[in-house]
Amino acid sequence: MTDQATAPKEDWTYEELRSEAEEIRQRLNLFRTSLGRFFVNKQELIDLMVVAAVAQEPLLLVGPPGTAKSDLVLKFRDAMGVRQEDYFEYMLTRFSEPSEIIGPIDINQLRDGRYVRREDGKLPTARLAFLDEIFKSNSAILNILLTIINERKFYQDGKPQPVSLRVLFAATNEIPEQGELGALKDRFVLKAVSGSVQDDHFTQLIDAGLNSEVYKTLNQKPWIENHASLDDVLKAGRYLTYQFGQTTGTADGSSDRQRFFPDDVFREFERLVKTLVREDRIFISDRKLVKLYKLLRVRSWLFSGGTVTLDDLRLLSYLGETHQEMDLLAEKIPNLLGY
């Protein structure tokens, strides 16, 4: 069970956060640009990881083996200084059991008739988690994951218990077509492709890859530069959450959208969504649409301090549910936006 006494602080007030919001923003920007130096052509993915982390929305990395998906998350974790007890990673297989994810049953408590799991060091206690091959989950794991991702809780002895999970990254080689995994798939608003870079960045890949091998062998981690921490991410997310809900205290009582989403950009947003839904048959649920708004705001705050621009609408490129959709959106969205 989570030790509430040692749980890190996350209940910052708006006033506390407002004073350091800009500083946090700059640190996070520095973090993401610094981390991008250790990868070849993965800056966009790193930016997306930061955005998703701040928005506390799960991000799915899709790509063939050997395209730095796991490496991105590991370095992200290292660079962010995430403590071991705050981190959980696991490669799922068809045979993975729930106990491997959420901990084994506590035998002693079971003798007392209580169905309680020992979740220390497992997903419920982690604030940052990485689930590799997430779609290889079997139905037992699936239910647990859905509850954790969606409701941020899991059941101990029949009682719901909040989980510490704040940032979830997942990776997969293939996006499944099966219906039962559709719910899990839908939890990921953003799905980004981590592709091979050797065609266009052959030399850089060799150089960077060699360096990476050297670091691994010599156990060096130069990407740990302490530019930002997980707390910074969480603070940024909480700060923006406060902003989303603010309507009072403003001069005109305007909503977040009215303040930070210019009409023309919003119209473009609406138009893009309708076009994707109608013309390209991209499925965007209402829930996803709202989350998309959040992500747009996060991105705009992170990159430009607040107002959403047309450039932020590039996030719609990551709405694809299948490889074909991903490829289509990667080309179409910039085209529609005029880039």
Binding site: R267, E270, R271, L272, K274, T275, R278, E279, N335, L336
Partner: protein, 1122 residues
Amino acid sequence: MLLQFPNSETLVLAISGGTVPEDVCATAAQAAVAQDGSIWVEFEGRLSRTSVRQLRDWGTTVRRGRGKLADQFTECVSWLQLVPLQKEKGLTSVSDRGQAIFQLHDESLLPELVNEILRQGNDRQSYRKITGDDSCVLLRVIGVPYYSLLRATEQWAQGRMTAFIERAPRVWIEAGYQHPLAARISPHAGEHLLIDKTQRWQNLTERPFEDIYRQSEFLLPAAAEPMADATTLPTLQVPIRLTRSTGQEAAEIYVLTDSACAQMDQFVRASSDAVLERLAFAITESDDQSPTIIVRIRPGRGTPPVLVFDALACRSFLKIPNLFVPVGNRIHPPLRRDAVRDLLAEDESRLIWLAPVTDGSSDAAVETTRAFVVRSVEDSAFLPLTSWVDYVLERDAETLTTWRLAHQFDFEDFVCKEERKQTKKKPVARPEPDRTPAGTTASSGKTPRKSAVKKLIDRFRGSAAQPPEDEEIVQLKAELSAVESRFLAMEAPLEDPQRLPLWDQMADLNAALGRSADSSICRQHRLWDDDHPDDHNWALWFETDVQAAHRLGAATLCSSEGQVTARELRRILKSTAPAPSEVAQLASWIAWSASTDSDIELLQQSLAAVQQHLEKYEASLAVRSCWLAWLALARISDDVLLLARARDRLLDRIYQHGLTADRDLPSFLRSGGSHAGDRFRQVREKVKDLHATIRAWSVANQGMASPKTKQYIDLIMAFAFARLGEQSLAAELLHSAEQDLLDKPDFVHHWLYDAYRYRIEAVLAGRPADGPFPESLLTRLEQIERIDRYKVDRLRQHSSILEPVEKLNPYHKWISRDDESLATRLGNLFSVSSRSELADRLQAILGEKLSTDDRARAVTIGLELSTRLGEQFAAGLLSEVVPLDRKLKDPVARANLLEKGLQIAAHYDHAAAVQDCFSRMTALLDQQTDAEVATLQALESLLSRSFVTLRKMGMRDEIAFLLEAMTRLVRDSRQEADSDPERLRILLQLAGGWFYFSQDRGWKDIDDARQLLLSGRLMEEGHVGTKKQTELAIAYLSAVSQAPLDEAVDRINDLFCSLEGIRDGATVNSHYSLKQLDIVEALVQTIVSDSFTMDSHSQRWLDDEEFLIRRRIHRDMRNMMD
């Protein structure tokens, strides 16, 4: 009239339902919309009462005055204008060909909109500027992107931009809306109508739109920078080297540098001249003045020989004939062929090769490219290698003197004793350890022969004996030849006991010479013709077969101790594919064992297995061997039925196929002795000469027929040569026919060629050439269209090479498959393979109520098939022959029935039935005075068949009688002239028959026929005459082929040199001349028959053989039954 519609739906209903007539709807009206949503319409005219009543039912009110809405009425061009647009649920996208018009009141929006649509890949845009009060820009887009269409529906665009989509011809409705009656709206001619959601109707005169490209200036990101051509270009130096290639091409030249002459010498000594003939060579001098020999493989048939030299092996490169690179190498970098040729092999008179050199710049073992030096030699320097080779004898030739039969063999007088040993149960001595049973002991009671030859014979008996020396072989052969000559010269009948010792001698001599097959056949003859053979003979027969099996490497019944054991017997019986020699020794063992009581217990213990094995594989046995074995088995088991079944099978075999020469006759009888052997060789030589004559004749008589007829003639001649043992000639003709017949795709030629080839190859391989075609050929045939199929079947119908057994109806494709006529059902019986099914079906037909003629037909066919169904079945049918013959009127039907009855009666040795049929046949002939020639023809052909039967029954006198009767009948028949072709044909057939008896009574008829054929008179009768000419020619050839050989060949040659008028007008002409092929095939079938290749003496001898076999079989059967 003023109507108040409660709502727009009622108005729509009234208009769409026709309650308000169309002409009313199309007229202008005044209308207003009240606050409650009701629509007031005032129009000129009135509606019918029905309409009014209907409208009232729907809640419409007829008003008398406008009331409070008086000033709200506005003009509308038609009632349809009153129908409000309905908002769509979601904006409908436009198809790729659909059109949309953007009406831009704010012209500043145009560039952004155009760019946005262009950005999405759509340049099918055109515009038009409208001036006036409602000035605007119209942008028409074909296949407008949805994204851009959405732009016009946004709030900000209201009043600034409206998008219209064409919903009906020339009717454009605002995007996002629908007009429920858009299809009814008919704008004026030359106008388009734009309807927005405010129900404002705008008329747009039809005028062309300007392409947006004309109004667009596409800005290049940077100014163009023209590039000037360079006047000079430095030469690029590209080194050419050799590099490894993955090809596995064969070498074509070899360059010998090290010890070239020595290598060549060694090579030539060890190579055949066939290889040397493929090679050419040239010699050059290298720098160190040692000779370099270049060996070149000349193009030729077959794969080039692989030569093993310590030399540089090179192959041609890029198909440049005079350029060679080392095998496994290629030029690097790869260049175009013309570039390589110009660079390296420009001089075509020289042969050039690239010799690799090491340039010392890198480790040669790992270098991937190598330098080379170009070497060449004049092409004219090459000479055939054989011109350089002299074959010398190491020793002088020794002149050999001809060995002459100068030795005198001091034989003792041979006394043939008429000994008849009665005892059958004397045990025979066990076989010797050298696996050869010893049968010749003093216990046999025979006086041993003590001649020199006998000593030779005794020396070489037994499988362990050393083969005779050359001189001894000569002696033995000479003796054998002498005995054979005495045998042939003997006047006594074949079964005369005087011949028995000769059989013994021939058997012994053949055995000594290692000719086990002939020896065994002689032993069988000896036992066959001897009513009481002694044990010694049985043993000798078994001994011979064991030796034969041993020599051929097959399993033997005798163990290493020389005894027949159960183990060896089991081994033989278990074999599922026994060699003929194994089956033969089993048969001889059975006969020996049963006759001498040797190993009788072993035989009785294994009786069932032995019977089963023998029945399964008896087809490989000689007829005599087979019968003697079955006779022995029947006696042991006392089973008459067993013997009867064996008899039926054997007789059927003889009936269907006759005697098998190589199994049933010794060599000297197959070739009819030395004289007939000479005749056979002469026949072969003369047929070769005949081929050229026939070909020339075919060309001269080609007419309208296909020139490919020559190739079919070649195929027929190939068959002839194959039958005559000229294998290479047959193969050569097969090959040349293939080249000429199959030069183009043509199903008929291809199929027929394959069919002929199948038959010819069967003969060449020694297989029977009379079975059905392979499945693959028949399947191909089923898949072609009718006409082609007809052409193929036509030739099959005529050709007895292609279809020696089955006779086809080429029109069968046109005949209904449901034909259940008696003729069809009887015909189908021949294809039934199951004995029981055949019996059932035949019984069913015979059980029907049939007319006399039909019953006669059924009985005739039944008799034909009775050899498969057994004697009892045949006997039942035979009993019907005479009663039916009494009732029949048609002489041809009678002759058919009697001929078949005679044949089957003789087959089953029903003497009484034979006599009945014969006497009725002669009576039939007597009754045919004044018969029509068609009747005579039919009779004659039937009689010809019965001649063959009677010959084999030994009924020569009866044949002569029938011949005489027929000849008289034909000559006395009412005919207009002796030279009538139909009549002549019959006489020609009879002439052939007379030749069999060595009588030349038919020569006059032959000369008459020749005269008629060469006169050309028949050709004046057109198509009918051509048919007669052909048939007469066939009959002529058949007749003269029965004559003495030289005369026959002269006549045949003469005919082909002079015969004309064989023209075809048939459908098959496109592929072959059927008549020509008929003639040639008739000739070929004649010349390959025994009657042509053998002299009459030998022919008769064969007939007697068959007769004696039948007689013995029937006699043994009767004895068994008694």
